[in-house]
């Protein structure tokens, strides 16, 4: 039996109208990757760009909670059209699992990711922001295999533990010549150039720091409140650097 996986053949087609695909990635959970993904998508949409947001963190999808939306199933049109929420086309596994857990093994995660990429019709977008699964396991490898034009935006706290995992990811991405836009140091609590220095040593652009914002947690689930946080202001300062097409390989 030939066993051709027909889904791979359409993924590139589904993404052909998307100008830039940014994978927001962190190796450890809890570093703020999902909040940065959502806020970045919102900020870009505010600037008039056509933006899509894809939550591929299957084990703990949270973008819908950050945005404060009750998921409504996407419209069908020879595939699935992601609903537009706050000016963003939003797709997530949450539409399919609702409040149920998704106890998926590696092969199941890989299959589900490929299926979702194959059925989602994004049409024209300036940016597709992907909230990546944490780490460099099956899910991340599958996304790298399926999407050829990925650019990685890395997120780390100033913790040595978080950095060590990010460093491994940078090495893996470099081995495969996958572009890295840069790194955001999130939830910074004390003065230190640890992340900036180490990023420079690896030839990765340091995009800036976002200080720990104690008010952020209470703002989650309200796009309006998030936009008024200190977190959002610091992220705003980083965005011009993201818009530069300069990439490090």
């Amino acid at each position: 039996m030939l066993g051709i996986d027909a889904r791979f053949s359409v993924i590139e087609d589904r993404l052909k109208g998307v100008k830039r695909i940014i994978a927001v990635s962190a190796c450890k959970g809890g570093v703020g990757k999902s909040v940065i993904s959502c806020s970045l998508a919102l900020k870009l949409a505010e600037r008039g760009y056509k933006v899509g947001l894809l939550d591929l963190d299957f084990f703990s999808p949270s973008d819908h909670m950050i945005l404060g939306i009750k998921p409504a199933f996407p419209q069908e049109e020879k595939g699935l059209l992601p609903p537009t929420i706050y000016g963003i086309k939003f797709m997530s596994i949450i539409y399919f699992i609702e409040d149920k857990p998704a106890p998926l093994r590696g092969i199941d995660v890989s299959n589900a990711i490929i299926e979702l990429l194959a059925i989602t019709i994004w049409k024209e977008l300036d940016f597709l922001i992907i909230d990546m699964p944490p780490g460099i396991g099956d899910a991340t490898l599958e996304i790298i295999r399926a999407i050829k034009r990925l650019e990685f935006l890395l997120v780390s706290t100033q913790s040595k533990l978080a950095w060590e995992s990010v460093e491994r990811m940078i090495k893996m991405l470099k081995q495969q010549s996958i572009p890295v836009i840069g790194i955001i140091e999130n939830m910074k609590q004390k003065d230190s150039d640890f992340i900036k220095r180490n990023a420079k040593d690896l030839g990765i652009r340091y995009l800036g720091a976002i200080k720990f914002d104690p008010g952020l947690e209470d703002s989650l689930s309200s796009v309006e409140k998030i936009s008024k946080t200190e977190f959002a202001k610091w992220l705003e300062e980083i965005i011009p650097k993201l818009l530069q097409q300069e990439k490090f390989k």
Binding site: M1, L2, G3, I4, D5, A6, R7, F8, S9, V10, D13, E76, E77, K78, G79, L80, I93, Y95, F96, I97, K100, P101, A102, P103, L104, R105, D108, V109, N111, A112, E115, L116, A118, I119
Partner: protein, 134 residues
């Protein structure tokens, strides 16, 4: 209507395969439809025919076979057919599985030990069994 996006994928994959292997534009494509994905064979066949009509110079015939789903529990080793658990699914849950078959893990359990850790051994979804020049 998911059948249309699946049909698009099959036509694209089969013609890409034929081009890559230097086939003439007359091919026979054998497709397996896994039971778990609950693809409507009639709509899928119609979609294949319509999409193929739009291709210039291609003559494609399709052979479509259905494959029963077989599930195996990773915890107790019990094997079962989809029909045993499918009847417990709501219409909405069945629709979710239609789009992403692996989501079955969110809605099904081993009938023997109730584990959610099971393997979809056969009949998960759509696959192309063969592409031949004719």
């Amino acid at each position: 209507m998911h059948e249309w996006s699946l049909a698009q994928a099959v036509v694209k994959a089969a013609t890409d395969f034929a081009n890559k292997n230097g086939f003439k534009k007359r091919i026979k494509v054998s497709v397996l439809l896994g039971e778990l994905q609950q693809i409507d064979k009639e709509i899928f066949t119609h979609a294949l025919e319509e999409i193929t009509k739009e291709l210039k110079d291609w003559h494609i015939t399709y052979e479509i076979k259905e494959e029963k789903a077989k599930l195996k529990c990773r915890t107790c080793g019990f094997e079962w057919n989809l029909s045993e658990t499918k009847k417990r699914l709501s219409e909405k849950q069945a629709e979710f599985i239609h789009f992403i078959p692996d989501i079955a893990h969110s809605y099904m359990q081993c009938p023997n030990c109730k584990s959610v850790d099971f393997e979809i051994k056969k009949g998960r979804g759509l696959s192309i069994a063969s592409v031949e020049e004719i």
